[in-house]
């Protein structure tokens, strides 16, 4: 696999504020790389610098092995961008909007027509070709936004939080569409602050905070960093403090939290953690409703690394 994007020591400052701080990463061909981080962590600034929409203060950016510059038109012809905000003409229909943006890349009318039709079908807007953007729902508008960015069939696609303010059904459609793009051979750089999306979609994830990379790897590699094996949650009425102290003595328990009737227990790596817990509950004659176990999330990783929630 060859490197599609190479970023070395990328730094972007706004006066005193360092929005991106010596960022380095690579994106391999055919990969979906997620930039995950809370709002203001520098994800969009990173994308804008890579695309030469912003001038970086330091660093080096290569795309397809060539230096990326504002006038690197031979690179730009193979790039597609889907911005967070919908970028379409209100005065043009769905078809015309896609045709216009595709036309910025492809001059041949017949070739363009075929690609526009394919893009419309891909995003499921065949019934809405003659609709104007103001006649579309939020979800359909997002799909149009995506179609405008991918109609020319780019090799490299940047998606900057494409699912913000989108209903769950449309979000699922969009995520399925992105997977399909990758399956067709596109390489994707995807920014989001939704950890679930990054987990579902990305082959590799870079977690960013305050303009820096705080962790990167596959989702499983990242979860290793959380330092816990699993989290168990159960509903218990009136668990006295002395019982909570006793509970902490069960092997491999990292932390317990008891809020309301919810008892949350984090286990370190170890064998039969869940069985030990059930035995203890029986032994102490503690009745409970609903018990479930889950693996650590990227939010736990973020919490472990920064001391704050990803959603904050």
């Amino acid at each position: 696999m060859s490197k599609v994007i190479e970023v070395k020591d990328l730094t972007k400052k706004y006066k005193e504020l360092t929005a991106v701080d010596h960022l380095s990463f690579n994106l391999e061909e055919g990969e979906i790389l997620g930039l995950l981080g809370p709002n203001g962590s520098g994800k969009s600034t990173t994308i804008n610098c890579i695309l030469s929409l912003l001038t970086m203060n330091e660093g080096e950016i290569k795309i397809f092995g060539k230096e990326m510059k504002p006038n690197a038109y031979d690179i730009k012809k193979d790039i597609g961008v889907i911005f967070q905000e919908v970028a379409v003409f209100e005065e043009l229909t769905v078809y015309e909007n896609i045709d216009y943006f595709c036309g910025l890349y492809i001059n041949n009318k017949q070739e363009r027509k075929e690609k526009v039709e394919k893009a419309i079908e891909f995003v499921g807007l065949s019934e809405f070709k003659k609709f104007y953007p103001k006649q579309l729902s939020g979800g359909l508008l997002r799909r149009l936004n995506i179609a405008c960015g991918i109609a020319h069939e780019p090799k490299l696609i940047f998606l900057d939080e494409p699912t913000v303010a989108v209903d769950p059904q449309s979000r699922n459609n969009i995520l399925e569409g992105i997977k399909a793009l990758r399956d067709k051979g596109a390489t994707i750089l995807y920014t989001t602050h939704y950890m679930e999306e990054a987990e579902i979609l990305c082959d590799r994830i870079i977690i960013m905070d305050k303009g820096k990379i705080i962790a990167q790897g596959t989702k499983n590699e990242l979860k290793e960093l959380a330092g816990i094996e699993e989290k168990v949650t159960l509903e218990v009425e009136n668990l006295p403090q002395e019982k909570q102290e006793k509970l902490k003595k069960i092997p491999n328990i990292e932390e317990i939290k008891y809020e309301g009737n919810q008892l949350m227990i984090s286990f370190q790596k170890g064998e039969n953690n869940f069985t030990h817990l059930l035995e203890w509950l029986k032994q102490e004659k503690i009745s409970y409703d609903g018990i479930y176990s889950e693996k650590p999330s990227l939010n736990d990783v973020f919490l472990q690394l920064t001391g704050k929630e990803l959603r904050d």
């Binding site: 695309l51 030469s52 929409l53 504002p70 006038n71 038109y73 031979d74 730009k76 012809k77 790039i79 961008v81 911005f83 905000e85 919908v86 970028a87 379409v88 003409f89 209100e90 005065e91 043009l92 015309e96 216009y100 943006f101 036309g103 910025l104 890349y105 001059n107 405008c148 960015g149």
Partner: protein
Amino acid sequence: MIVFNYFFKILKQYKVMIILYTAILVIFGAFSLNTNDTGTDFTITKPDICIINQDKDSGITQGLTQYLTENANRKDIKQEEEALSDALFYREVSYIITIPENYQTDWLAGKEPKLIIQSNGNYEASLAEMLTNNYLQTADTYRKNNLEEDQIIEKTKQALDQKINIEMTSNLNNNGLSQANFYFNFANYSILAICIFVVGMVMSSFRKEMIKKRTMVSPMKPKNYNRANFLGIIVLGVALWAVYLVISMILVKDVMFTLHGLYYAINSFIFTICALSIAFLIGSILQNKEAISGVANVISLGSAFLCGSFVPVEWLPDSILTIVHILPSYWYIQNNEYIKTMEEITWESTQPFLMNIGMIILFIIGFLLVTNWFSKRKK
């Protein structure tokens, strides 16, 4: 090419506005065809007067009364103070002449007796005063020559009855030129309104931040992109001018196929380019479509009212005319007014026309320089 094509696709959304402004021009242009300004007619008007004669109805008194009766509309008003005041107030008459007792005797004696005059001071009253003075001064000239009263009255009548035929001659098709002038002056409003509104709206769409971003990440070179937009604007302006020229050829064909018509065409073409440069500047500064619509109205209506597009320039106060020198519409309308009065088309007579064209071109250069400065600053 894609940007150029879609420039017109977006422009199509504003076709209703273009049709509306053009329809207004056609309606008012057609309306001007009903005006008749040959410039060679003269019709004398007769003022409404009332004569109260307290003297004997003979001699100079009779002569004056007869002369005024022939040359004015004499009306009988009840000889009461209130009735006379009402007649003046309600403009039933403009001039009331009271000839006092012994006027004839005193006049013949050279005592220069005074007539009692009541007037509402309008132009009809001035005309009546002129008629009265005219008669009395002529009669006085004969009296001073020691003629008999009968002879004075006879000679005065003969002198005042002499008529002179006055013919106002001109080689110009005054009626056609007035109509063409009205049309092209009014076009100032339509051209400005359409150019600013439509160009502003289309530019606003292309300059939306996210659309710009999408264009910047594409392989479209900014030079090609701007060139396509600029070409679109020029084509719009030329097409608009051509349509307006064709309409003028239909409405005032007698003028448009002469050299005067050519001058009107050149003047309107340069002004259209100027309107486009204003539109380009506004489109570069403003993004908000409602603001663009408001500015288009303010500039087009303001220029039209202040520079003489809707009302003749002569009616405007001097202070306004001094201020409006800073507006290109003023020079455009001045040029239209000048074309109307060009008796002969020679190099000499064309120079003022060229000077006004030069002023409009200076405005175009100025607007483009400001736009360029503003765009660089924004970048």
